[in-house]
């Protein structure tokens, strides 16, 4: 991170009548390599730092940001802050305070010891495995590994100085399978900290397995039936709905969970946890962007809604303590409520056991168009999907050109089994971890005439 003269910035702020000020410096270093056709096709690298400033001017909080990290950017940064304070009518929130209690400690990442050429070798090996998986794998379209290191520094005029950093790797694979006229794709991504044979095998099995098994997929006649959402599909659906657990959406009347604390809002099988240091999650934080220590908590326990996610502002309004969920999405955002690693607690059944218990049903292995097909406000969803029919406890015909539809809040009550295969499906994005879920009834729409 750069050495900026924050003391001078705070001094300038004070001269301008900004009585309290706080900087939040977010840094990201990413190295990404992509291979195609047996060689490195694309290499990218960046070191990126953004500075957010907030401070109290004439009794109101102002915000501003800059990516120009030189002392000559200070004047504009302060002017933007004062302009914002001039139109802000909200009660100012407090700046970060020294965290109470000790922050948790974490070990360094094994990625520190891995070199660029080792990553390249690993990717070439994955590509070979993908082509060897099945002769119908026609193209390994996209195969990449990115090594991401993020850092944060919060410093303010009250003497708080907090730093944290996190490092993780993400492997992504997209393949095409062809057989005659039939074309299908398969995709998988996962968080990795070590480049192991097991990881290579798992990602190839999922991406290539899906693509090959889906060849020849057809639609079906619309029906309502028992449905398994495989872990990645369940994770995608829940990630799109996670804002209903956020106190800001609740307080704005945009969450249907408003007023339901302490009530059973889901099947008693279902527990949802938020854990800022969950090993499978890409977020790893010991404090939030307001300096509140980040701790593991139950959002939903045995179907009962235990808490919403709070930052300081929403907590004050609700008369509770912040849950440590006040984050800036980037240096360009003010503090908003956000989850770190939200996930559904694992159950005991394997996916195979869940399938065996279904006479007539469908397993959904992929959903598409999440931003389009899910309405977090109403909970209604209708998502383009792919998957397989289940007949007599066995996977049968592949399905495409179908949609799976229902209402999220109703779905919560109709979860009848939870798998033992917890998975965070989109590492590095707004992620939600889920095992595979069995739902007693969802609508599957297809384009075939019913008999």
């Amino acid at each position: 991170m750069k050495k900026l003269d924050f003391d001078r910035l705070f001094e300038e702020a004070s001269k301008n009548g900004i009585v309290e000020a706080e900087v939040c410096l977010k840094g990201t270093t990413v190295t990404q390599q992509k291979v195609f056709d047996g060689k490195l096709e694309d290499y990218s690298y960046h070191e990126d730092t953004g500075l957010s400033l907030r401070g109290i001017y004439q009794g109101r909080m102002g915000y501003s940001y800059t990516e120009k990290l030189t002392d000559d950017a200070f004047a504009e940064l302060l002017k933007n802050l004062m302009d914002y304070a001039g139109i802000n009518t909200r009660e100012p929130e407090r700046l970060a305070e020294p965290p109470t209690g000790l922050l948790q400690q974490r070990a360094g990442s094994p990625l520190e010891k891995i070199t660029d050429p080792q990553v390249r070798e690993f990717l070439l090996n994955v590509e070979k495995r993908a082509y060897a998986y099945d002769s119908r794998i026609s193209v390994v379209q996209s195969l990449s590994f990115r090594d991401v290191e993020t850092s944060i520094l919060i410093r303010n005029t009250a003497g708080v100085e907090l730093t944290d950093k996190n490092r993780y790797g993400v492997l992504e694979l997209l393949v095409t399978a062809r057989s005659g006229e039939a074309v299908e794709t398969g995709y998988s991504s996962r968080k990795l900290e070590e480049l192991t044979e097991d990881a290579a095998e798992a990602i190839v099995e999922e991406a290539c397995g899906d693509a090959v098994k889906l060849l020849g997929a057809a639609s079906l006649a619309s029906c309502a039936c028992e449905v398994i959402l495989r872990n990645n599909a369940a994770s995608d659906l829940f990630s799109q709905m996670s804002r209903v657990f956020q106190a800001d959406f609740v307080q704005r009347d945009l969450s249907r969970l408003k007023g339901r604390l302490g009530e059973a809002i889901a099947s008693q099988e279902l527990s949802i946890i938020e854990d800022p240091l969950h090993p499978l999650g890409t977020e790893q934080r010991t404090f939030d962007d307001e300096g509140t220590p980040a701790l593991k908590k139950w959002v939903l326990k045995d179907g009962i809604l235990e808490t919403f996610l709070h930052d300081r502002r929403s907590a004050e309004k609700a008369g509770v303590r912040s849950t440590g969920n006040g984050f800036r999405q980037s240096h360009k955002s003010s503090i908003e409520i956000g989850p770190t690693n939200l996930y559904i607690e694992e159950g005991e059944q394997t996916l195979e056991e869940m399938i065996h218990a279904i006479e007539d049903g469908v397993i959904i292995t992929e959903v598409q168009g999440l931003h389009a097909g899910v309405s977090p406000t109403s909970g209604d969803f209708s998502l383009q999907a792919r998957g397989f029919l289940i007949k007599g406890g066995m996977i049968s015909a592949p399905l495409s050109q179908i949609t799976v539809g229902g209402n999220f809040f109703e779905l919560l009550h109709t979860i009848t089994a939870i798998g033992s295969d917890l998975r965070f499906a989109s590492p590095g994005h707004k992620d939600f971890g889920s095992p595979s879920l069995k739902i007693s009834r969802l609508t599957i729409a297809g384009n075939l005439e019913s008999n």
């Binding site: 096709e41 960046h46 915000y63 704005r252 003010s334």
Partner: protein, 462 residues
């Protein structure tokens, strides 16, 4: 913004290890984004984006490095980092960066930096008041106001040295209606490649009332029946359907490796005779336009499909190399944080000859998609989906009842062939597109048109 001397240094280092081409994209952007809820400022801020991206090509290999530390020594370090990822002999070139071109083509009067933040807040308040006043069932009105003044310099080792200043603004107005134990929402998003004079030319209240009308209408809608039926898509942002269903599969980024459903089909008939699909980045002051594309080529009108025949793909430099085709001025990126690739600007179906009324009357039973929310596509299989924020049933040639929760799914290959009526009322509206080179400002448009058969995913009727 960046001196010729530094550029020459960067390029010299960049080509020292075998790269055959190097390109610098530098950006200085002043941006404001504020969100109001119920007319009260909720979040946002103004600030400066600032950085430089350096791309190296060697045949089909690419390297991209970016930094927001623009001190000369840091830029040389970034160039060395990029060059370090290439293997080969130094390439000697004679650089001539003497002539700098200005390629800004979209006039503006009131640049965002000259307008007080209070004025921008007032716009959001006006929209909120109008939305709320529409109906007592309208609860929350959320407005996101955005503007940008992005100055871009692009230089490359072919001797290009060009600038473009991109001034744009937009409001996203979202209305929520409440009642009967449920919530529904709708949005409108007027925007343009203009300064704040844009708001002197439109009435933000009209857009707010339209969002409120949509939300209130859908509050009382029944669930859409699932099944296969003709779908009439209304003019305007309905064009997003073709953006998703066909546009992405015509981008060189999916065509070049042969993975697109439309790869290798240039000159062939892929659509109904009624379909002419255009992508135009040069429409004056349009939201999805640029003065030059993000590789420095002037933007232009590209006719992708002409009367059903696949005429041309959208091609950027790197994918063009793989395909053996020249750039069509179609390279875009969100910011210096992204390497450019082929993307859409303003994409629309050209006008036909039927009236909207005639199209509806000719449809005995079907779905009228009056507002599209959003969608996505798998360019390899051609499978697309999108959701409707407002839809109605067509019964006996008349629009009858609103229906909610509708999703349209299909395959880009089929839908192009199944267009059987095209209206005369072309309209282009404003939105965003998210793909590998980031979130971009796009226009999507069409006249009212009919697809003879589509799969509608809904919840009832089964």
């Amino acid at each position: 913004m960046i001196s010729k001397g530094i550029l020459e240094d960067i390029f010299h280092i960049a080509l020292s290890t075998g790269a055959d081409f190097a390109e610098v994209f530098m950006e200085v952007n002043f941006s404001t984004q504020i969100t109001t809820i119920g007319g009260t400022l909720e979040q946002g801020m103004s600030g400066r984006d600032y950085g430089l991206g350096l791309r190296l090509l060697k045949g089909l290999d690419s390297v991209y490095v970016y930094t927001n530390d623009l001190a000369p020594e840091s830029l040389r370090k970034a160039a060395r980092k990029a060059a370090g990822a290439m293997r080969g002999q130094e390439r000697q070139i004679i650089l001539n960066l003497d002539r700098k071109e200005v390629r800004s083509a979209h006039p503006f009067c009131k640049p965002p930096g000259d307008v007080d933040l209070k004025v921008k807040l007032e716009l959001a308040k006006r929209a909120t008041a109008a939305g709320r006043a529409y109906h007592e069932e309208i609860g929350q009105v959320t407005v996101s106001y955005l503007d940008q003044d992005q100055a871009v310099t692009i230089a490359n080792t072919d001797g290009l040295f060009a600038e473009d200043r991109r001034v744009r603004t937009r409001m996203l107005i979202q209305a929520v209606a409440e009642g009967e134990g449920t919530l529904s929402e709708s949005w409108t998003g007027p925007g343009a490649m203009k300064g704040l004079e844009f708001y002197d030319e439109i009435q933000v209240e009209e857009f707010a009332r339209e969002a409120a009308r949509g939300a209130q209408t859908m509050l009382h809608a029944e669930y859409c029946p699932a099944g296969v039926m003709p779908v009439v898509v209304d003019n305007g942002f309905g064009g997003l359907m073709f953006h998703e269903a066909c546009g992405h599969s015509l981008e060189a980024s999916s065509v070049a490796k042969g993975t697109s459903v439309f790869a290798g089909m240039q000159g062939q008939k892929i659509a109904s005779d009624l379909v002419t699909l255009v992508d135009d980045g040069s429409i004056t002051n349009a939201w999805g336009s640029l003065g030059m594309d993000d590789e420095g080529a002037p933007t232009r009108k590209n006719t992708l499909i002409e009367k059903g025949i696949l005429n041309h793909y959208m091609v950027d430099r790197l994918n063009g190399r793989r395909m053996g085709q020249a750039s069509t001025g179609s390279a875009r990126r969100q910011s210096y944080r992204f390497a450019p690739t082929s993307r859409m600007f303003n994409t629309y179906i050209a006008a036909g000859s039927s009236s909207q009324k005639a199209i509806i009357e000719a449809t005995e039973r079907g779905l009228f998609a009056s507002r599209i929310n959003a969608g996505s596509v798998n360019p390899t299989t051609g499978e697309f989906n999108f959701s409707l924020s407002e839809a109605w049933l067509i019964e006996d040639g008349r629009i009858t009842r609103p229906v909610k929760g509708a999703t349209l799914i299909g395959n880009g290959r089929d839908i192009l062939k199944d267009v059987d009526m095209v209206g005369d009322n072309l309209k282009i509206e404003e939105g965003y597109c998210f793909a590998s080179s980031g979130a971009l400002f796009i226009g999507a448009g069409q006249p009212t048109l009919r697809v003879s058969s589509m799969t509608v995913g809904g919840r009832s009727g089964v």
